[in-house]
Symmetry: C2
Subunit: 233 residues, 2 copies
């Protein structure tokens, strides 16, 4: 048994969630990682999530298969093309087609269930409100409202055994600041995957908004970008 309080950490396999996991560990939590196979076109990120979970050392890594593709409505779960070559300064100004309806709400809802069963009050999610690509479910007001709902939904909250907190340590950081923090904490970003539209071998496209934000982040952080691109940009 660990003396550390347990925390559930949503782990996609990208830069943000890997950093978030490292922060949860540095903050003294015993980490339980939770990832989702939602038939995303970049399911290769799940292999990255497993590599990071092993590298940083989690007590358990739970991967759940959920059928978001049967609902559709996003370029990430259907055959809609992922947009390419958007200028970096225009990313985040509107909600992109890579938005997945209710994705963070669904992810956090499963995290609540996992947390309640574990007896973990804290749930870490690597959302940030700086370069959040326009996703509404990454904003502080949303996170606050979700947390309030959670504490009315769960038995252990209602019975006073646990207070559920949605922890967002990256909320006010931009990608470069996130990368700098992760490097301080020893995160090996070569294990992570960000690209929304990788080639069949898993190499990054270098042109989707996720690749663009990632590359810009390493550049601004003054850190070498370990990403392997299908074609050097």
């Amino acid at each position: 048994m660990s003396d550390r309080p347990k925390a559930v950490v949503l782990l996609s396999g990208g830069v943000d969630s890997a950093t978030c996991l490292a922060i949860a560990i540095a903050d003294g939590y015993e980490p339980y990682a939770l990832s989702f196979n939602y038939h995303q076109r970049h399911a290769v990120e799940l292999a990255a999530a497993s590599r990071i979970a092993a590298f940083l050392g989690v007590t358990r890594h739970l991967v759940l298969d959920i059928p978001l593709g049967k609902i559709g409505g996003s370029a990430l779960t259907t055959s809609i093309d992922v947009p390419k070559d958007i200028p970096a300064d225009r990313i985040g100004q509107s909600i992109p087609i890579t938005y997945v309806p209710a994705r963070n709400t669904i992810f956090l809802s499963f995290a609540l269930a996992f947390a309640e069963v574990l007896g973990a009050g804290d749930i870490f999610i690597g959302v940030n409100a700086m370069d959040y690509s326009g996703y509404p479910d990454c904003r502080p007001a949303y996170i606050t409202a979700f947390e309030k709902m959670a504490n009315l939904a769960l038995q252990k909250a209602v019975e006073g055994q646990l207070v559920f907190r949605i922890r967002t340590p990256l909320l006010r950081l931009n990608k470069a600041q996130i990368i700098k923090r992760g490097i301080e904490l020893g995160v090996d970003y070569s294990l992570t995957h960000s690209c929304y539209d990788p080639d069949p071998t898993g190499l990054a496209c270098g042109r989707c908004e996720s690749c663009i934000l990632r590359r810009k982040g390493f550049l601004e952080a003054g850190a070498p970008d370990p990403t392997r691109y299908a074609k050097q940009p």
Copy 2:
């Protein structure tokens, strides 16, 4: 194309959700039913959901497979025994072992995704606060908090295209009142299934809290109980 506004109706296959669907139709909505296979021990309720969806006439019935059993924590998704023979007047006084952590939150989250893709603002759920068996995620304060969160989470809410409403027409009704309302609307309750612990042929046990509340409801409504029990109680 229907002129009716679309609504998503959570349909478990029991008395409450069948009535809720009939009310949504009577209120003028074009209904889209949503059910979940969560490896519940009473998965026979999914066959009931399909019967009701066909009987009442929905535009589409989406059944999603979700892995609540991999999280556990409930008698409904694990091998924990379902309690039997609880006195009816003690049901609802505490949260029972049939509570599934975050279940309604997970169900409603998928309903949000489905609703946004359909362009439906209204989501019907058959929760009730009268004989709600002690489940925290059936209470009015929870529903209000979920609705507030939803309107911060979804693109179509944030962009002002839709207001998402969680509709709970059964909230203030007891089981007998629900059954009377459903009979007025032509619901054939012989198509529904309530038992948490049916026998291998799908017959109701007659002794779990769900059976007890159902039988009491038909008795108080003065309506014949069409349930087929494994052993006559």
